[in-house]
Amino acid sequence: MLSRVAKRLYWMARQIERTENTARLMLVQHHMVLDLPASIRPGWDLMIEVLGARVAFDTLGVKPTEKNIIAFLFGSRDNPSSLLSSLAAARENIRTTREVLPTETWERINSLYLSVAQRGTRGLPGSIRHKVLNDIVHRCQQITGMLAGSMNNDAAYQFIRIGRNLERADMSTRIIDTASARLMGDREEILPYRNVLWVSVLKSLSAYQMYRLSVRRNVNPEDVLHFLLDSKIFPRALAHTLNEIDTSLGLLPRNKEALAAIASVKQALDEADPAMLKNATLHTFIDDMQLMLDDIHNAINHTWFDPEAGK
């Protein structure tokens, strides 16, 4: 299979996953704002932190109001990771790889893109916010499910699976990092709401129900961290995404370098003890994880997408 096609499929999967994750994150934020007293309510500002879009937002020079931030996250073309930008990129990638994807993929992404583009920067008034964001999550899941359910599990599909899981790993570590920075401190005003806040962290990764089924204890920071980092059975837990990537890489030719990169992340994760990961150490640990995820991406990029770089 052509390197260009592999690269586009990989990015397409990442962009669809990113769209879903971002929409879900906004959805959870929207609900949390409704639940909490104003004094400890996390601002929409936090979204910009989580998504690493601080520079892009500040460049715009607009006030960080709820309305402006939502417009920025939703329909802004100035934000490379807005829902619209991610969908536009995914659409372009699907458009140029139509011959290897199920026919309906194009129609689905096209109509999803058009519906988001139509709304554009008009914003998302509270009354329709839940419906619109929820709809985006569902439609992304539909595409992911369609690809999983109807594609040959050949190299093309492996690149999609790798992209999807790498994006999940990235989002899970981002959310853990931000949540811990905000919630791990023993700030008194937070204590009564700690439960609500950690539940919302789980919900951001659609992990709440699965956490309940799997952990069967109250929601407490240590268990949440352990679940999100180490669960081998929850699809958005770091350990699970790494296993998925590992399996897919194992099916590709010339995979030595990429396998080595994944092995070192897995080892670092195995050796970490979540009980010991508090505040500063957790932040450093997540930072290291993110760097290692970058290494995996780089190994994939220069092994399969840009073969000349290896010469």
């Binding site: 299979m1 260009r4 139509r98 011959e99 026919t103 129609e107």
Partner: protein, 490 residues
Amino acid sequence: MTRIVRKDAIDWKQYDPGKFYDELISSPGHARAVARGIVSYLQTLTEKHLQNRQQAADLAIKEMGISFTVYSEGENIDRSWPMDIIPRVIPITEWRRLEAGLVQRLTALNMFIDDVYHKQRIIKDKVFPAEIINSSKDFFKQCIDAKPKYGVWAHICGSDLVRDSDGTVYVLEDNLRVPSGVSYMLENRAVTKRVLPQLFRKHSILPVDDYPSQLFDMLTSLSPRHSRSPEVVVMTPGIYNSAYFEHSYLAQRMGAELVMGSDLVVGDDDCVYMKTIKGLERVDVIYRRVNDDFIDPEAFRPDSCLGTPGLMRAWRAGKVGLANAPGAGVADDKVVYTFVPAIIKYYLDEDPIIPNVPSFLCVDEKQRKHVLANLDKMVVKPANESGGYGMLVGPVSTKAERAKFADLIEKNPRNYMAQPALNLSTAPTLCNGRIEPRHLDLRPFILQGKHHYVTAGGLTRVALRKGSLVVNSSQGGGSKDTWVVDTEAK
């Protein structure tokens, strides 16, 4: 046995093609022998029924994603392919003759191209004027002395055939660069089978489905290596090209990779490689759908980013097969066209089986005077434009347009030729719920590698606007499924 004819059925006596030759109806109320099955079937339907079928066809086209891209208002839009559901029919006896004529024509044209890039015997023998080659935009010095396999340069040819009011079929032009439309021919048949399956029982129709495998076989015959499974790729300029649907479709049907120029590299060994996830893999044959001047920035336009640097070098070294060969466009020039009967005579010592439309060369003073005096009866074409652009259709032109063309011709006579406007034949076409005659042409596709192949029929293009002669899809043309009917078979 009496056939039950509905009272509200289509009344063929109302259908009158007038002075034009109609492909299905010989005179009001009378079907041609070859079309009797279709016409009698349609008689059992009302126009409402027919419109329902048309809607089913339009829906199928949308679902199957059959589209073409038009550039308008600064955006590329994928439009559904327009197809009229009433097929166009050709009797097999007539088709056999046309087929032989098309093969004869392409054989001679390939001999001409090969000669032009080598000894130029035809010029030395004063059959063909040197200045036409010397002033041709499509004669490439980079191709002189190149030796493509079998001496064949134009491997895929799409020739446009038209029928005049007396029934004579002419060749209107030969497309030897990157002719398109064959995927629509295949899809039109697939759609007709879906929405009018009953029609197929009444006729014995030649299949068209084998084109992709014939194309693949022809392409593999161009492989420089003796390999059992040569690597064949389709090269596209990308999704913004109007024929991208077709590039992707043909690649899929042949099981070939669809590549862009940037997917390929030419090594120091002059071989062409594609960048794959397994590393670099050698490519044997490229079916390129990128125009000559864009295929290799080293040899042609340095600003092109659609091509692959070094491709010409690889081709000249015989390390890769290119279809069509660069430089083949020299014979796809509307001025060269006027010499094709002479070219056939010269190389094959045969008379052309299918005649040319009588043509006037503006570069010749006497002929130019005739053209300028009769602009309102002529179709004037620039030497090397395609897609129906830059043409003057005399009978429907305004005075200002004629004045503009007179001026253009005076300034650059080499660039223009003219033909008397033909009375293009018609066929019944569903227009806003009514069956009306519309003008059409036919583009068969001819392959030449080690062997020849001609599609059974081809792509019929129809001008959907009343009275219009412009059939190009980019300018409001539609299409029809085309049937070569075996009238002798039972």
